[in-house]
Amino acid sequence: MIVGYDPERVEALASMSREALWSLSTLTSTDPAAVPALQSVRRMHRTIETGVLAAADDIIRSDPLTGSFGGRAATAADTRRRRDTHGSPTPSTSFRDLVREFMLHRLVGGLTLLSDDELFLLTRSELTAAAEAGRLLDIDDPDRLMRSTALGIELSRRAAENPGFASRLVARSLDDPLLALVIAESDMSPEIKVAVFAATVSAEPGRPQADHVRGRAVQRFLDQILDDPALALVAIGRPDLIADILDWGALDSTWVDLGVDNAVDLVDVAFSAASTYDLGSRDEPGASEVTARSLATLVDLMNSAHGDRGLPAELSAAYTAGLLPLLPRFVNAFDGDEVFRLRRDDMSPVGVELGATSESMFDLLGGLARHRDSRAMLIGSVAALGPGIGTRYTAEQFAGFAAALGVSVANEQREEAIHAGRQQDRWVTGLTLLEAGIESSGVIARGTGAPVSIGFDIARWSVGHLVPTSDLDLDDAPRAIEMLLVVALTARIVSEIGGDSGGNDDGDQIDDEHVGRVEAQLARIDELLASPGVDAADIAGEIDLLRDLVDLAIESADLDATTRRRVAQVWSALDDDAFSAPPFRSETDPDLER
């Protein structure tokens, strides 16, 4: 809201802003040492364009005396009227605008006389002429910008009137990068812009002239998407586009940084927009669908060839950061059900189906956790979910979620190990044991069956103390995975036996002797693993014994502080020394034998 202004000065400000934008656009450098400086120049450009200039233009447009020209800037006639009323504006700042508006008006007028096909010929012939002259098209040339603005106005008008023309625009832009650039520089609808953007990034690299223009078009689209959440939302709704951005970045090494960096920003902005929309309008129909669509995009991506290859670390971190605000809603979305339903913050059974399975969602989280920063964010966030137990989700839901996440991360690690040709390492062995532990606790849970009072305090304690994030060595991925599983296991135990009653009536407690037996069993397995020619069946037998011991331990009802510490000790004993070379080869997983 503008509460007061001087029309004369605002007009001068708009003019000065355009001059400033022009001067900024002339600043270029190919020196890598100038990259930060040029990034700040681009930010300044955006700040002026979307801040000062946009506000000034809005005033000029709404001022009854300045009038408007096609919804853009004041016409020469309008400006003359303003002069008559308010005196002469600064000639040095307004003359250029007057000429520009006049030229633009003339150009647009001329373009309206051309047929659709003739319009399409304009960009093609301009690019051809530059190629024949043996030079790269000067994209920042003021005359070209003028022509582009005029053509953009005419193309936008025809596209708005005729959907068929809009489709032709998209199709043509695939092999006409200058047309794509004109559309990028126009005021066309987000849907058309994103469609042309998608076509541009999916185009195969061609001659240097075309690639040069295509690069600038993509940059222009990305700049706008980053500035405009509405455009970003349309973009994020296209999984093919995200995938193509990555592919596009890989086409040419000189574009890698540009492509990936901007893709990161794109994801960041898109998720911010989605979260704001989602959280800010709970009752608005379709709000959750926005988030759901973004998630579905990521699921598709992670299950594509890109996901299999592994995402760039920066992109993975951006996705993870975008997902974190949604993590509490993942807990009750996962109920062991095959279909993943994103629910509201309450425990309502109603939810939005993503068209994805729960398994694929956990694949997504596991895939993201391949990278250190993403892993750190995920684990830290899981640890922070404790307070939601009992209010936003049940302890059982939380346990199920943490366990599934842990196993999913573990699977990714295992896949990575296999792909890396490392066969099986001690982490895989460790995880096999941990999975066995989880499984056995599940058996207990199913066996108990009776309603239990949920030990919220202990569950929170388990989150806060068993996973002290500050102590986590996040470079040590398997350790982090183990932590997740321990949280899951402990929460599940607590949910089954109750936290305040002191447990079952049998009086079985985890005492020193029991802990000693568990540790001895771990040492026994360790010894077998270290023996040459070890028989997998023997180890499996020992693991069964260990599982029995763990079962006994977790059946114990009295989870006082000492016991809890011992549970933690038992599990942490799995970490450092228990499993070491030679690799333990499982008989049940042929993949690991390769």
Binding site: M1, M16, S23, A33, A37, S40
Partner: protein, 95 residues
């Protein structure tokens, strides 16, 4: 004798200083003069002008940084020249 890389560093230093000069000369850094309360006032103008000042501050920092980098490049060029000179002198003495 001058090391060939020294020339590269000096050229880059010159380029960075020129870029810094161009950035400093941009009307964008003086735009705030035209965006004060005598031009407009209200929440949106205030926010726009604040954003502008922040962006200007950032540009000023980058200009300083370009000068620092240019100086560093010059120093590196001097160092390379000194090494090249010493190597040349040693070669002559040995000859």
């Amino acid at each position: 004798m001058s090391h060939h890389l020294a020339n590269v560093y000096r050229r880059r230093a010159r380029h960075l200083r020129q870029l810094a000069w161009q950035m400093n000369d941009s009307p964008a850094l003086r735009l705030h003069i035209h965006a004060g309360v005598d031009t407009w006032h209200g929440p949106r103008p205030l926010a726009s002008t604040s954003d502008l000042r922040r962006a200007q501050d950032e540009i000023h920092r980058e200009i300083d940084d370009l000068h620092v980098r240019a100086t560093r490049f010059d120093r590196e060029a001097d160092r390379l020249d000194a090494v090249a000179y010493a190597a040349s002198a040693a070669h002559l003495n040995a000859g």
